[in-house]
C-alpha cells in the first residue's frame, strides 16, 4: 500500500509541479534547453517522458535508497534525515504532553461534571483551542523576550533548534533542551484542548453505561470503577486518534516551526511544494504513508489491549 501510494505521489507531483519554473525565475535568462540540461542529472528533465523519469527515480530508491534531488541539486536524503530528527524532537514531546494533559484533564473534569474545576477548565480549553497558532506562538515569543530582558541573560531561546558552536555532550544536550522548551509549550497549550474536550465527552458517555454500574454493584469504589472499566472503554477512540495524528503532526506543525525558526518536516513539506521539488514532495508523502502504517498498527494493538472483548479478525 505504501509503495502504491508513494508511486502515485510521484506521478501526481510530476504532473503538478514544474521544476523548470525555478530556473526561469533566476536572474539570468536561460533557454529551455539549458534548463533541461541542468535538470537532467537529477532525473527531473520535463523533456523526458514521465515513465523515464519515474524509472530513474525508482532505480535510485530501490538500489541505493536515494530519494533524489531537489531542482537545485540538494539531496533529499540528507534534508529529510536532518529534519526528521528536528521534527521528532519538537513534535513527540509536544504531542505526548498535550495528550497526557488533555486526557488527564478530561478524565478529572468528566468525573466532576459541572463542578467549578470542570467549568474553568472547559472555558480555558475552548479559549486556547480558538487561539490561532501564529498568535499563540508569537505571544510566547514576546513573553520570552520580555522575560530574558528582565533576567538579563538568554534563559529561554526563541529561535532555532540549537546554538551553533556549543561544545561538549552535556552542554549540547542542555542547549537543545533549552531550545525545546518554548515550542513544546506552544504545541502543548494549543494542542491539548481538543483531547480534553473529546476525552471528557467520551468518559461522560461511558460513565453511565451498564457495565460501569455493574462494576459499582460488585463493590468497587467510584474511582476504581472509573479507572478499571469506564476509562478503558472511553480511551479506545482517543488511542486511535493519537495513533493516526502522528503523521499529520509530523508535517503539520508548519506555523510553530516557522515562528520558532525550526527547520523541520512541516516547513520542508511546504517548501518542496512551493519550490516545485518533485522528489522532496514524494519523500514527504512516503514518510507520511510510513507513519500512517505504523500508526495503524499501534492503534490496533491499543484497541485490543484496552478492550479484551474485541475479537481480532
Amino acid at each position: 500500500m505504501i509503495v502504491a501510494a508513494t508511486n502515485a505521489a510521484f506521478f501526481l507531483a510530476s504532473w503538478f509541479l514544474d521544476p523548470r519554473s525555478n530556473y526561469r525565475e533566476l536572474g539570468k535568462l536561460r533557454t529551455d534547453q539549458q534548463i533541461s540540461a541542468a535538470l537532467r542529472p537529477y532525473g527531473l528533465d520535463p523533456d523526458q517522458s514521465v515513465v523515464h523519469r519515474w524509472w530513474f527515480w525508482i532505480k535510485g530508491v530501490m538500489l541505493h535508497f536515494d530519494w533524489g534531488h531537489s531542482p537545485t541539486g540538494v539531496s533529499v536524503n540528507s534534508e529529510v534525515a536532518y529534519r526528521v530528527v528536528v521534527s521528532g524532537e519538537l513534535v513527540l514531546v509536544g504531542t505526548i504532553l498535550s495528550v497526557v494533559l488533555g486526557v488527564t484533564l478530561g478524565v478529572y473534569t468528566a468525573s466532576r461534571q459541572y463542578g467549578v474545576v470542570d467549568r474553568v477548565a472547559q472555558t480555558v480549553s475552548i479559549v486556547l483551542y480558538n487561539v490561532p497558532t501564529a498568535v499563540g506562538a508569537l505571544g510566547l515569543v514576546l513573553f520570552a523576550v520580555w522575560f530574558n530582558q528582565r533576567i538579563g541573560t538568554t534563559v529561554l531561546h526563541v529561535a532555532g533548534a540549537s546554538t551553533p558552536g556549543v561544545d561538549g555532550a552535556w552542554s549540547r544536550l542542555f542547549d537543545r533542551l533549552d531550545h525545546l522548551v518554548l515550542p513544546t509549550v506552544a504545541l502543548t497549550l494549543l494542542g491539548y484542548a481538543s483531547w480534553h474536550v473529546t476525552q471528557r465527552a467520551l468518559l461522560l458517555d461511558t460513565l453511565h453505561a451498564e457495565f460501569v454500574r455493574t462494576a459499582r454493584a460488585t463493590g468497587l469504589t467510584r474511582v476504581q470503577a472509573i479507572r478499571r472499566h469506564a476509562l478503558r472503554a472511553s480511551l479506545i477512540p482517543t488511542a486511535t486518534s493519537v495513533a493516526f495524528t502522528v503523521p499529520s503532526v509530523f508535517t503539520g506543525a508548519i506555523i510553530t516551526e516557522t515562528v520558532f525558526g525550526w527547520r523541520g518536516m512541516g516547513t520542508y513539506f511546504t517548501g518542496t511544494i512551493a519550490n516545485n521539488d518533485v522528489h522532496g514532495a514524494v519523500a514527504v508523502a512516503a514518510f507520511g504513508a510510513a507513519m500512517t502504517a505504523i500508526g495503524a498498527i499501534f492503534a490496533d494493538i491499543a484497541t485490543v489491549v484496552l478492550d479484551p472483548r474485541i475479537r481480532v479478525r
Partner: protein
C-alpha cells in the same frame, strides 16, 4: 382548525408531555455556554449575509486611490496592498468558509459514522473493503491531490466541498470503526440482535447514537479544522493575492458543545 380550538386542545392536554424538539430546545437553552455559542454563531452567519451592506465595494474591486489604508468611512476595515476593501473580502471569505466548513464536516461525519460503524458491525467482506479504502485514502498524499484539484477548478467551492469530503472522512471513520469493534460486543447490541432487529437498523439506531458524543465533539472541532485547512490551501495558491480567507474569523466559532 381555528386558533381557538388549538388553544383549548392545548389546555386539556397533560402539561408534562412536551414534543421531543421542544424538550431538546429547553434543555439546550438551560446551558448558558451553549446559548452563548449559538449567539456567536448566529452573529457570524448574520455578518456573512448582511456584512456587505456596510460597504459599497465588491470584494473583487480595487480602489487604486486607497492602498493599505487604515479604516475610513468608505472602507470600514481599511484596504490591503491591492486596494481591495478588507470588509468586503472578509464577508465574502466568511460566506465561503461557513458554507464549505459546515457542509464538509457534516458530510464527512455522516460518511464516517455509517462506514465506520457499519464495517465494524457487519464485518466480512464489507469490513475488509472499507478498511482497505480507509487505509488507502489515509496513505495517499491527499494534500497533493487537493492542491492539484483546487488549482484546476480555480476555487469553485462546490468542487472543493466534494474533494475535501472525499479526503476528509477516513480519519474519523477509522476512529469510529475501532470504537465500534468494542460496541458490537456490548450487551445492548446483542440484545437487539436476539430480538431480531435487522443489521443495518442496529448500526443506525443502536450503534451510531451511542457514538453521539464523539460525533458531536469531532464535528465541531472538524468545522474549525476545515476552515483553517481551506485557508492554508488558498494561501498557497494565491499567496494572498485576492480574497482574503477569513480563517481567523471562522475560528471564533462554536466549540461550546456537550
Amino acid at each position: 382548525m381555528t386558533a381557538s380550538s388549538l388553544l383549548t386542545a392545548d389546555a386539556t392536554a397533560p402539561p408534562v408531555r412536551l414534543g421531543r424538539a421542544r424538550l431538546y430546545t429547553r434543555r439546550f437553552a438551560r446551558g448558558r455556554g451553549a446559548l452563548l455559542g449559538v449567539a456567536l454563531f448566529l452573529a457570524l452567519v448574520l455578518f456573512a449575509l448582511l456584512g456587505s451592506l456596510f460597504t459599497s465595494w465588491d470584494f473583487s474591486q480595487s480602489d487604486y486611490l486607497a492602498l493599505t489604508q487604515p479604516p475610513t468611512t468608505s472602507h470600514p476595515f481599511g484596504t490591503n496592498q491591492g486596494g481591495n476593501d478588507v470588509l468586503a473580502e472578509c464577508v465574502h471569505g466568511l460566506q465561503r468558509s461557513l458554507v464549505i466548513a459546515l457542509s464538509v464536516s457534516v458530510l464527512t461525519m455522516i460518511i464516517a459514522a455509517v462506514v465506520g460503524a457499519g464495517a465494524a458491525y457487519l464485518g466480512g467482506r464489507l469490513e475488509r473493503f472499507s478498511l482497505a479504502a480507509i487505509h488507502f485514502l489515509l496513505v495517499v498524499p491527499s494534500f497533493l491531490i487537493l492542491a492539484l484539484v483546487s488549482n484546476r477548478v480555480a476555487g469553485d467551492w462546490r468542487v472543493l466541498i466534494i474533494v475535501l469530503t472525499i479526503f476528509g472522512w477516513m480519519f474519523n471513520a477509522r476512529v469510529i470503526w475501532s470504537v465500534s469493534t468494542s460496541l458490537r460486543e456490548r450487551d445492548y447490541v446483542r440484545t437487539a440482535e436476539f430480538m431480531g432487529v435487522k443489521p443495518w437498523r442496529i448500526v443506525l439506531r443502536h450503534m451510531v447514537p451511542h457514538l453521539g458524543a464523539l460525533l458531536i465533539v469531532n464535528l465541531t472541532l472538524g468545522i474549525d479544522d476545515t476552515a483553517s485547512q481551506r485557508g492554508r490551501l488558498r494561501r498557497r495558491r494565491h499567496r494572498g493575492r485576492q480574497q482574503r480567507q477569513c480563517g481567523t474569523q471562522g475560528r471564533k466559532k462554536i466549540t461550546h458543545c456537550s
